[in-house]
Subunit: 250 residues, 8 copies
C-alpha cells in the first residue's frame, strides 16, 4: 500500500467521508484473503504489476485449486503455477481452465489467448539437459508478455557454436543464460554483449558439480561485468526478472 | 535427582530409617527402567515437568509400543511420539489409546481430554509449505497446556499481510516463526515485538536453500534481538521451548 | 507502531484535533532520526521495551559518538554498545559517560547507577576460554535488569564439577550455556533442568572445531528438549533473549 | 567484434581496398594491446558501451599505471579502478589525474567533470557497516551516468524505517540492496516494489554469517520475485548491472 | 611381508636351496590370489592377525561368494562380511555356511562355534536408533574373540541413566561410544573413565545433523582426553580397533 | 576453426573465387547442425581429433537417437555415449548399430571392428567397487585406439599387492588410478612411477567419504608429483585425457 | 567419584562416624577447587590416572600460573600445559619449575627427573612440516611414561623409505601417524601392521587441503582396519590415547 | 627400486658376489639418507627421472640448507625449492649457489646454465593477478627442460583476446591454464584444442570465490574433454605434469 493511497484515505477521513474505524479496517484488512492454509495477496497486481504466482511444490492439488478459485473470482488472468507436477495439473484442470507445459512443469490458469509481446529476451543453454529449466524461464517470460528467442546447446566446449549466433545475442535486451556443470557460458556471453545477463545455474552434472553449486559459484564469480545470478534451477525467477527489465524500455 | 532429595535420603540413613545398601541402591537404580533397547526415564516428569517424549524415527512400532506400555503402566498421560509415520501409528493404536495428527506426524498416547491451556503462543509461517512443521510445534504446545494462535502464510514477500496482523503479534507471550527459503520472517517479526521469538528453519525450498541451511543461517544471523533458533524442521523443539517460556509467567 | 496508536491518531484526525498532512507526517517520520550513516530508531524503547543497541564493529568511534549523542539528547539511559574495542571506547568516553568492560568488549553509555534486578539467570561455561563471551551475556543481562549467577569452567570432561552445582542450576529461571569445542554442556544441562536453556556456541577450539561450527551443530542437535541456540560467539543475543524470558514472570 | 564489422572488412577485401594478409591481421590483432602482464581490451568501449574497468587487487601500482597510460593515450575517460588501496592511489595520482573515494576504495582516472545523469537507481543498506560496499555501487553507477538515491541503515529489525521511505522506493527504476548478516532486506524490498532488485550480500557479521555466505544464501532463496544476486561484497558489479538496466529505458 | 622373512628367503638363496628366479617369484607373487575383480590378500592373517574382511557394499553376491570360496579353501574361519544386505546373504548361504545378523547387516562365514573370549569391551549408545551400528561393533568384537557388554540408550539428555551404570564403565578395558545427533555421550564417558574410548558418530538425526557430521565434529572436538574417532556409522571399524586394543593386555 | 583455414578463406575471397557474403556465411554457419534441442558440432573431429561424445544423462533416448542419426549420416564412427542406461540403450539399438557395456554404462555407435591400438595405458583400482568407473575409463581409452592393461583391487590396505605388480606399472605410458574412500592409491602409485598419473576419485565409501569428496581432496593434495585429477566418477574424462597423452608419443 | 567411594561414605554415615550434612558436603564439593575463572579437577588423578592437563590457548599466563600453583600445592607432578606460547612460558617459569619444548609448544611443570618408561609407541610423520605436531604427541607420551620411537619424513611419495623401516613398525604396540596433505600414510601403515594406529591429520598443505580437512577425511575413510582418528593438529590427544593403550598391557 | 634392480641384486647374491646380509642391507638402506628431520630420497632421480623437489613452506632455512647440502654432495643439479620466501632464499644463497625467482617464489639450486629445451608447453592465464602461479608453472617446466610460451591475461570476459592467439594454442603439445574467479578459461581452451589441458585454479577472487574453490569446482566440471586439474595455486604441480607429458613424445 503506497504513501499516496494512505494520504487519500486520511483525507477522506478528515472530510468525514469515512470514519476512523473504517479507515483502520481498510488499512488493516483490504488486500488479503485468508483461507486458512494461504493468505492470498490480491493487492499484488497493483503493487507489483503481475498477480501472485503460485509455487506448486509442497502444496496439494486441493490447496492450489482453492487458491486459484479465489483468484479467478477476482478476475485474475494468466496465473502462473510453477513446479507443478503433471499429476496435480491433471487434477486441477478438471475444474479450472489450465494450460500445462510438462517439460517446464508450469501451469497457466485462465490464460489470455491473444497477448502483446514486447522487446527481446534471449534464453541460451549450455547443453540439452538444461532445457527444462530454460523452458521454465521462457514460458514465464512469454506469459508475462515478452518476445523470447531460444538458443539451446551452445556451451563453451564448442565456442564456435556460440560465436556463430553472435547476431542473435547482439539484438537482445536481456539474456538469460542457463547452464550446469561449470557454468562458464555466463561469463563468455557476459563478455560479448552490452545488455544485462541473468545467469541460472542448473543442477545438471555429477560428482563435484554438487547439484549446481559449481555452476552457481562460477556464475557469482564471473569475470564479465553485467551478470547477476538467481538460485539453482530457478528458471521462473530468471524469466520474471528478465521481464521486469525488458519492460523498462517500453 | 536434585540435592534436596539426596539430603533427605541421607537423613533417613542417618536416622536408621534405611540402611546404607538401600540408600546406595536407591541412588543408583531408581529412576530408569531398562528394557534392552531403551532405558526409560520415569524420573523425567519430576525432574523436567513433562514425561519423556518418544522420538519415533528409527524405532519400530514394536519398540514404541514397548516403551509406551511401561509408561502407561506408571500412569503417564499425554505422551508425545514425534516423527511418527501413519503406518506405525496404525499399528500402535491397535492396543494403545492414541490420537494421531498426520500432517504434523505426531501421536499422543493416553491423551487428557479436558486440559487447562494458559498464556498465548503465536505460531507464524512464511508459506503454505511450512505448515506441517508449524503444526508439529502447535500440537506440541497445545498438548503441553498452552493456548496457541496460528498465523499461516504471512511471509515477507507481501509484508502487508504480516503488518495487518500486528495486533495478534503484540498480544503474544512467545512467538514461533516457521520459515524456509531465506527465513527472513524471523528477523521481521523479531523487530516488531518485545517477546521472545523462537525461529524454526524448514527444509522448504530448492537449490541453494540446501534443505534448510539457508534459512538456518539467516535466522542465526538475525539482525533483530530476541531471536533464538532450533534445528531445521524441529517444530517439536520449538513448541517445547515455547511452552517452557510461556509457563514461566504463570 | 502498534495498532492502538494508529487508531488513536486516526481518531484525533476524525475529531479535527490534527489534519491529514500532520497525521501522515506523524505516521511516516516520527520514530526515526536519519543522520546520514545511521537511521536511529528512537521508537524502539516503546516498541520493544529497551532502547536501540549499537553494534560497535564496523562503525568508527565518530559514528558511534554521533549516534549516542542523539540518543542521550532524548534521555536514553543504559545504552549498550557491543563489540566495542578498547581504542574506540577510549575515544568515546572523552565526551560521553561510558562504563567499559574490556573482557566482554561492551560499553554502557549513561549507565543507571542503582537499578532493580529481578529473577535469576545462570550463565555457565564449558571452559576458561569461553569466559569473554559469557561475560558479554552476563553484562547484557545485568544491564537489562536481571540477577545473574556465574558458573564458569564446568565442562563435561569432569561431569562432577557440574553435578556438584546442581542446586544452582535448579534455581534458575533461564540458563545460558556458553561452550566451544564440542559444546556438549548444553545437552547435559538441558537434560538436568526444567527451565529454558539458551546455548551459545563459541569459536574456542581448533582444527575441526571450524571456529565454532562443531559447537553450533552440536547444540542445534541437542538430544535434550528445551534448548535453543544463538549465533557463534553471540553472548549479547543470549543475554538479551534470556532477559526477555526472565521478565515474563514478573 | 560484431558481425557487421566482419562483413565490412570482408567487403573491403573483396573490393581490393585491402589485401588478405591485412584483413587477417586486422581480425587478429586490432582490439587488444599486449603489454606483457596485461592484454588491454581497447575494443570494449565499442562492444560493451563502457571502457575496460581495472580490478585493482592483485595488481601493483606500477601495473595499474601502465594500463591507465595506454588507455588515456587512446582518449578513454572515466576509467574505473576498483578495490584500489589508498597507498596505490597515492602512487598513481602522482602522474595520472585521479579522483579517489577512500570508503568505496574506487579510483576514477580522467574523470569527466560535467556528465548527464539519467534515470533513478536507489541504493539501500541494512546497516551502517554495509555503507562501504554501497558506496562502491553508488559511485560506479554515478560514474556510468546514472542518478543515485541513497537509503542507508533501513534494515528489517526496524521495518518502519523502511516503510516510511516507501515513496523513494516506488520511484526507483532499479534498486540495489546491500546487506550482511541475514540479508533479509532484499526479500522485504523485493516484495514491496515492481522494479528489478539487485541484491549484494556483504561480509558484515560474525560466526555463522561465514563472511557473507548467510546473506548470499538468503538472497538467492528470496521468496520475493524479481531479485537477482551478485557476489559477496561486489558493489561494483551491482552498480554496473543497475546502470545497464537503468539505461534500457532511455 | 616382514624383514625376517625376506632375510630367510635370501639366506636360502645364498645357500643354493633356491635359485634367484624362484626367490624373485616368491617375493613378487606369494601372498595374493587374483580372481579378476578382486585380489585376495591371503597373507593378511599372518601380517595382521585376522584374515581379510569383506566389505559387502558395491559387490554382487556372486563376487562375494567367489572371494569366500577361495578363502574357505585355504581354511579361513570366521570371515566377516560387513554391510551385507539380507538379499545377498540369502544367496550366499545357499552354498556357504553363513551366520547372518540382519540388524547389524553382518555375515560370518564358516563361524567357529566355540571360541574363547577375553577382556572387556563396553558398547554404549546414546539412543535406541543407534543400536544397528552398535550391533555391528559388538558382533565384530565378539567374532574377533572379545567379551562385550552392552549399555544401550544412555544418552546425556538423562545423565543419571549413565551415571547409574558407572560400575560397568569402570570395569571396561575399552569403550565404544555410538551416538548420533550431537554425539555428546563420547565426551561425557571420556571424562568419567581412564580407558581408551572409541567414538562412532551415527547418521541418526535430521536437519543440521547433516547425516552424522554434527556428531562427527562433536566427537573430534571432545574436551575429554582419550577419545579417538572412526568414520560415521563405522561400527565395524570401532569393533576392530577395540579388539586390537583389548588384546594388547593378554 | 583455426587460423590457417580463415586465411585460406580470405585468400579465396581476394581472388574472387568466392564473394564476401559467401565467406561470411561460411565463417558463421559451417560446422554446426542445429536440431532444436541440440547443436551438433560436426567440426570437432577436425578440431579435436575425435568426434563429439554424447553425455547420455538428462537426454531422452529419442534425443540421443536424433543426434546419432545426423552423426552417422556424416559417416562418423565409434561415437561414444556415456552414462547411458540399459533401458535407453535397448531403445537406441533398435535402429542404430550399438555396442553396449552395461557395467561401464557406455554405448558405442557404429563401432569399428578392427582398430589399431597403440601405447600402454594402465587402469588401476583401489577396490572391487571401483570397477564400474574403471571400466568406463578403460572402454573409452580402447575405443579411442589405446592398449589398456587392468590392475584391479590393488588398494593400499595391502600394499604388497601393488608392489608385486611393479613391473606392470613401470611399463605404462600413462596410469589411471581409480579409487574411492581415502583415495591414497594415487599418491602411492604417483611416488613409484615416472609417467603421468590421472586420478579418478569415486563415490565409493560412506559417511565422511561424502560421495567422493574425501577421495577428491586426497588426490588434489597428493604429496607425489605428476598426479592430476578429474571429477568424481569421471572415468570417461580420465580415459579421454589418457588417450590424448598416450598419442603424443606416436 | 566412583561407586565404592560413595558406598564407603554412606557406611560411615550409617555408623555415625560422620553426619548427613558432612556427607552431603563431601559428595558435593570435594574434588574441585573453584578459583573463579577455573574449576580445577583435583580428582582426575584418581579418576583417570593422570592429573588435569591445561589447555594453554585462550588462557593468560596469569591464569595458567594460578591453576598451576593450586595443583603443585597438592603435590601434582608432570603437569602438562599444551599450546603454550614461548612468551607465556617465559612468564610462568619465573615462579614455577617448568620444562618448555618450543617446537611442540608444550610445557611440563614440576617434571619428574627419573621416570620409568614402558612399552613402545612409534610416532611417524609424512613430512618435515608435520614434525611440530609429532613432537607434541611424542613429548606427551614420554611425559606419561612411555617409550617413544620417531620415524619422521616417511611419506608415501617415496614408499621405499617407509618399507625399509618395516622392522621398527612391526615392534610397535601403538603407532601414531602424523600427516597433512592427503594423509595417505595412515592407510599404508594401517595395512602393514597388526597394532592400533592413531591418525593425526595436520594443517600442513595449501589450497584444497583446507587446513587439514583433506587429511582428516582421508584418515576417517581409511581402507585399512584398525585406524582411529583425532582432531586436526591434535598431537596431544594422540599421545594421550596412545599412552592409555600402551599401558593396558603392563 | 624397480624389479630389474632387485633381480640383479639377487643374481649377485646367487653368484656369491655379495652375501645375504649385504643384500638385505642394500635393499633396506640404500636410497635414503636420514638426517633426523628429513629422509632424503636420493633414489628419486633414477626412479622418477628428476631428483627430489623441496617444498619450502614449513621448513626453516637451516633445514632446507641441510637437505640441499646432502643433495649437492651427490652431484644433483637443478634442485627446485618451491614456496620459498625471499627471506629464506637470502639465507640459503649465502652458502649455496641459488637462482631465485621472487614472483614465482621458486629457487633453483646448482642450476645448469645451458640446457636443452624440448617440445612446446603453453601457459595461459585468465588475468594479471594469476601471473605468480603461472610463473611457478613456467619456471618449473623450463627447469625440467621444456620450451614454454606464455599467454597472459586472456580471460573469457574478452574472448577475442584468446581467439586472436589461436595459432599459439594450436601448436602446443600441452597447455597449462591458470585462472581464478570462475575459472572458465579452462573449458574454453579445452574446447578449442586437441592436446591435454592441465587446469590450475588460483585463489584470485573474493567472496564466493572462496579462495579458489569456485575455480576448482568449475575446472573439475569442465564440459570440455581433455582437462585435468591440480590443487589450488599448485603451479609447480602443473608444470611438473606438463613436463612429463611433453617428454613422452621425445
Amino acid at each position: 500500500m503506497n504513501g499516496q493511497e494512505v494520504l487519500e484515505l486520511l483525507l477522506k477521513l478528515e472530510n468525514h467521508e469515512i470514519d476512523a474505524k473504517t479507515a483502520f479496517s481498510t488499512l488493516k484488512g483490504m488486500p488479503f484473503e485468508d483461507i486458512g492454509y494461504a493468505n492470498i495477496d490480491h493487492h499484488r497486481g497493483i503493487r507489483q504489476g503481475t498477480c501472485e504466482v503460485i509455487y506448486g511444490e509442497g502444496k496439494t492439488a486441493e490447496q492450489i485449486k482453492g487458491i486459484l478459485e479465489r483468484m479467478l473470482l477476482r478476475g485474475e488472468r494468466d496465473v502462473l503455477i510453477t513446479r507443478l507436477s503433471s499429476e496435480k495439473a491433471a487434477l486441477i484442470e478438471k475444474t479450472i481452465p489450465l494450460t500445462y507445459h510438462p517439460e517446464a512443469r508450469i501451469g497457466i490458469a485462465n490464460e489470455t489467448l491473444q497477448k502483446d509481446h514486447i522487446g527481446n529476451i534471449v534464453v541460451a543453454t549450455g547443453g540439452t539437459s538444461d532445457i527444462p529449466i530454460a523452458e521454465e524461464a521462457a514460458i514465464t517470460a512469454q506469459t508475462l508478455g515478452n518476445n523470447v528467442v531460444k538458443l539451446y546447446d551452445v556451451g563453451v566446449s564448442g565456442i564456435h557454436r556460440l560465436l556463430s549466433r553472435h547476431d542473435v545475442l547482439m539484438k537482445a535486451k536481456v539474456i538469460i543464460v542457463v547452464a550446469g556443470m561449470e557454468g562458464a557460458l555466463a561469463s563468455v556471453i557476459g563478455g560479448l554483449v552490452d545488455c544485462p545477463v541473468i545467469a541460472v545455474p542448473t543442477s545438471v552434472g555429477y560428482g563435484a558439480a554438487f547439484n549446481g553449486v559449481a555452476a552457481l559459484l562460477s556464475m557469482l564469480n564471473s569475470c564479465a561485468s553485467g551478470v547477476t545470478v538467481v538460485n539453482i534451477d530457478n528458471g521462473f525467477g530468471a524469466g520474471y526478472s528478465a521481464s521486469m527489465i525488458n519492460h523498462i524500455g517500453e
